[in-house]
Symmetry: C2
Subunit: 262 residues, 2 copies
DNA sequence: TCTTTCAAACATCAATCATGTGGGATACGT
DNA sequence: ACGTATCCCACATGATTGATGTTTGAAAGA
């Protein structure tokens, strides 16, 4: 779909300006007003913006995270590389709990077909691992679904059922994503329920790997999950600030950076 | 996709004959050999049959149930009507657990957008209820995902995690499907794990509705789930044998038959 | 070795989707 | 209430995808 780029530009423009007219957006994107309207309808359904007669205003005023569908596209290449590196750290036969989020979704995809037991914490990842992996008979990846209520849009499973599912099991490895990470502030997330799930996942795993884009390093989000010392390894990309990496390393975390180029 | 019909015919022909050549199937379906080969590949991936050089042999020799994708298409109209009737029996605000199986999948679809809390016991139904219902903001249907291991193909969630999820909750209504049902033999299923889940679901609901095609009435499958008296209502279609319906009625079950014609 | 069968590559057709255009309906400002 | 700008509903068009068939070189089995 080539409309993704246009949706992104509309989202950005509206967010930057606060609100914008349909005509402005049509001029900006080069598309017709009708197309812009259809786009706005889509974005309004995703909760990105709110429509009013003549234009739209952004609902993501501040540090709110953009909707899943958009984030999943951004920096896909880097996420894939990070995911491949994480998958390489996981041995056959292991049991792994994989967090929600777009980076971890790629990790789930990278584990598809591997001889491992996986419990993904988001519906997106569940779908990525269920069935369509091909050979229905010779399926080697064992899939475990946790209970919970899916958070709208994210598909992230949360709540007491998720907690109970995690507490009933012990994993070799937990792969967690984050919204912010640093040696000083530890691992943080935007959503309180998510943070709770992450914490429980970390508690039921022997080894914890954080998978995150470099841009998240040094940032802090609302909900505290765990101190940096709770992590055994961090896999990130080359865009990560060097001082943060050094600080994490000094805190005893194994740091792995995947190149931005092949 | 118009290929469904051809897939069904190939499946039937191979099952009837035990094994068949590619040329025979091409002649039977009127399609080219290449298309038949591609179909066989698909069916082999679904575990329906096994390929060998020159043809394929059926893997569903006995009373095994055909794969989910095929069953989901058969009698869709009747299933939709049954599902609509079941949905009409459920009041707004109720919490409902919906069993796995193709008929119950339609029930889940029928509940989409209703102001109810739903816990579906299969991944297919989870996907039918998650997100793409439109308005991300004004989503009224509360979705609860049970834990468990999805049974390959079926997507039916089973095992201790599923059991634990069910035992942690109490529902107003359980909608269960079945592979066999009768006043004498009770409600039965093919799969032992499924039967266990069904039993647990029934135990944690105040009211139990069985939704099933008429053809299942009077049949018996391997695993016993519950006596007919455990059911409060049965919704089926006009193809159900009258004597079975009468016997169920006599056992104190409310019987509802939806017409085959609108 | 030779024949049959298979699968990758290309061509074709239909279906679907994205987009644009016109016209009638609708909402907002005055 | 009126007028105008805006919106949405159809329908048309171009692009993309998916299913099917044909060809052809490779591979399996006799």
């Amino acid at each position: 779909m080539g409309n993704t780029e246009r949706l992104r530009r509309i989202t950005d423009a509206v967010r930057r300006a606060g609100s914008l007219g349909v005509a402005d957006l049509a001029a900006l994107t080069g598309a017709s007003e009708m197309t812009v309207r259809r786009d706005l309808e889509v974005l309004a359904e995703q909760g990105v913006l709110e429509r009013y007669r003549g234009g739209a205003r952004s609902l993501l005023l501040r540090g709110d995270e953009p909707p899943f569908a958009l984030r999943a596209q951004e920096g896909l290449e880097a996420k894939r590389r990070i995911a491949a590196e994480v998958a390489a750290l996981i041995a056959d036969g292991e049991s792994v709990v994989v967090d929600s989020g777009t980076t971890c979704l790629e990790v789930a995809r990278a584990l598809r077909g591997r001889r491992v037991t996986v419990m993904p914490l988001s519906l997106h990842a569940v779908n990525a691992l269920a069935e369509p992996s091909g050979h229905a008979a010779g399926t080697v990846t064992a899939l475990l679904v946790p209970g919970g209520r899916p958070r709208p849009g994210e598909g992230a499973l949360t709540g007491p059922l998720t907690r109970a599912s995690l507490e009933a099991l012990r994993f070799d490895t937990a792969v967690v994503g984050c919204c912010g990470l640093g040696a000083a502030q530890g691992l943080t997330a935007y959503d309180l329920d998510d943070a709770d799930v992450k914490r429980t996942a970390i508690a039921s795993a022997r080894r914890v790997i954080a998978a995150t884009e470099g841009a998240k390093l040094g940032r802090t989000a609302l909900a505290f999950v765990a101190p940096a010392a709770a992590l055994h390894a961090v896999v990130t990309d080359a865009s990560a600030p060097a001082d943060e990496l050094a600080a994490l390393s000094a805190a005893g975390v194994t740091v792995r950076t995947v190149g931005t180029r092949p």
